[in-house]
Symmetry: C2
Subunit: 402 residues, 2 copies
């Protein structure tokens, strides 16, 4: 597979980052402002939430992303700057403008992201002072930045890998945060990817969208598509490979697969660290009528609170899987349907199997629970990731705001 | 309003019921077999789950319901007879046939319903012996029958009301059960309505479908549309009113409103007693673009685990309501949107209100939490009912089968 290296979003050449405490969050031990910066111009790609109540930073960054030259991203946690009206838009612009001024780059090339509570005015003065601090000491260490974007995540999520293209060393780095209000629709709750590959903006955008469909868009924690979902991908070309400007270029596939690996890694990390989660659930659906139906099936199973609770209780209640398939809206023929837990058959072409309950329980004790569904109808397949539903999810969300 | 009377499904003239322990459930203190019977022929109406993995009793009863003369309903709890293949269909027929034989009526006029665990073969011998018992002592007391259909419900749900039509006393009785896998799509997890009104089968079916859309189809406990959802309505004509055979008949509206009252009462009872619930959530959406969008909006809010958790924690986190509206798919203009808790404004035409947190908390302490959403776009309105999400939901469903 891939050569996984340290450094996260700072691993590719030319990328720097930092994270500070600006005072948005109450707890001064938690960083709340992060910055990612390429000291070389970039082409960029982005995918954004389809939630109609888009947060101010999504509106502002989506607009800037069209030009495709994002070179710096300023991100705060603790406040989503969502449902904050015209003032929220102004604040998002102020964040970008101040960052651009300090970095001496065009404000059009600075994206903004926010995550946290919805509907509260951003403490903009604290953030602007924070931007003075954060731009002062940019480093090749991505750790503070990846910590600064966390909300209820229990750990920060980063990865970097190396590829070879035409003898050149290409690096892709990424970071992301979850971990509630996670049911991405075109993007997830903040993912940032950096790379030093040389690639055209058009192909970069195409590649991100394609990869996003099979990675970030295939996770769910609680079925809640957020107002702030965003994935940004910055490429500064410093690897000096011949520029990729067609998907027919054999190098494109190498990059595509590497990017998919990075995004899939971060997606799984988000699902695994879903609010209150103790287990990762991976659902693989095969032989659906088509790929679209396979995706719906896999994601419906991952999203079912009854299945999530049963996995938490280590109870092989496969009837709930059949039930979820039944209401998912996909084509279903029970006589062709099979469901298994790892290699243990539970339901085989319409017939309930007398399986070994102890073996099933043991498989469910694993940190990763693999559910396989064969629909027996066509050649569509998809994988989705989710997590178990626990008391802790309720506890976290009963008192999130107060 | 209506004159609420005792007697549940036995309140209308000619209806008898019983409930016994047949041995399907492990606990002999919980009844598990119920019977509703009219000793006079009926016209009947039914609505059934749209889940594609329909349980055997749904397939069998839906077929019989087409003829529209259901006169007896035999129901077991403890086993859903779902995903049980051809044997399950045979068992459902055996239940109906034995009941018909004992009651000396046509088997085509006996419906079957089941609720409980999915994918386990029905202990048919125990049920057939139970049918011997249950048909032996039919009474005008509906209590045992309404208890026999319970699964995780904490109490049995019944109601009966009186109406006057052309000087005749009309009675409508009903019973229902919840309380998990509740997100009805054309029907709910077992509702049975009886009435002595004289009405044509065609109008009865039309009326049930219409009422169902605004009542049972507007509740959600966990977003899980079950394989066994079913509502049956039996009318035996013993009230002797002039037969209603047109919706233009002014008497039809009187019946329609009474039936809606009964179904709404039972729907609210199911939502209130959702698995682990401590509070009923009632969401009223007004000024949506149209009625369909109002329904989607109300139901999406009721179904959001983040909103359900916040209500449980008595936290007026209105941002989650806006977020849910944003991903619901309806038309949304934040500048026209208002959200309130009872009469307390939280978000008014695009602007967050500095509301009194203590007042909000007090409103959220109520057993019924009323959320009002004004979309400011059209004249569509709808009400949906749900419940809070608690640790107890997870506890119940982590170990339901084992």
């Amino acid at each position: 597979m891939y050569n996984i290296i340290d450094g996260g979003v700072c691993a590719p050449q030319g990328f720097l980052a930092n994270g500070v405490y600006a005072g948005v969050r109450k707890n001064p031990n938690k960083l709340d402002l992060g910055l990612i910066y390429s000291d070389f111009p970039c082409v960029s790609a982005g995918v954004f939430t389809l939630n109609k109540a888009k947060a101010a930073p999504v509106i502002v960054s989506q607009d800037k992303s069209k030009k495709g030259n994002i070179q710096a991203i300023i991100i705060n946690s603790g406040n989503a700057n969502s449902c904050t009206g015209e003032l929220g838009i102004l604040h998002a612009h102020q964040m970008a403008n101040k960052t651009a001024f300090k970095l001496k780059i065009d404000p059009l090339n600075v994206a903004v992201a926010s995550t946290g509570v919805i509907g509260v005015t951003l403490p903009i003065d604290k953030i602007l002072s924070g931007i003075d601090q954060i731009t002062h000491k940019l480093t090749k260490n991505s750790q503070a930045a990846s910590q600064a974007i966390m909300t209820t995540d229990t750990y920060s999520k980063s990865i970097a890998i190396n590829l070879k293209i035409c003898g050149k060393n290409i690096t892709i780095g990424g970071m992301a945060k979850g971990s509630g209000m996670i049911h991405p629709n075109m993007a997830t709750m903040l993912g940032f990817i950096t790379t030093d590959i040389s690639i055209s903006q058009e192909i970069l955008q195409y590649t991100l969208q394609k990869v996003n469909e099979d990675t970030f868009n295939m996770i769910t924690v609680d079925g809640e598509t957020s107002t702030n979902d965003m994935v940004l991908l910055l490429a500064n070309g410093l690897a000096n490979n011949p520029e990729i400007n067609s998907i027919k270029d054999p190098d494109w596939k190498i990059f595509y697969q590497g990017l998919k690996y990075v995004c899939q890694f971060l997606s799984i990390e988000i699902a695994k660290d879903g609010e209150g989660a103790t287990k990762l659930i991976e659902v693989k659906v095969t032989n659906a009528k088509n790929k679209e139906q396979a995706k719906i099936a896999a994601r419906t199973i991952c999203g079912s609170p009854l299945i999530k609770s049963a996995v938490h209780g280590e109870d092989a209640n496969w009837g709930r899987i059949v039930n979820a398939l039944g209401y998912s809206g996909i084509d279903l023929d029970l006589n062709k349907l099979s469901v298994s837990l790892e290699k243990l058959n539970l339901f085989l072409e319409g017939t309930a199997i007398q399986f070994d309950e102890i073996e099933a329980k043991n498989l469910l004790k694993n940190k990763t629970v693999n559910i396989y569904v064969n629909l027996g109808l066509g050649d569509g397949e998809a994988v989705a990731w989710g997590c178990d539903l626990t008391n802790e999810y309720v506890n976290i969300n009963a008192s999130y705001r107060t």
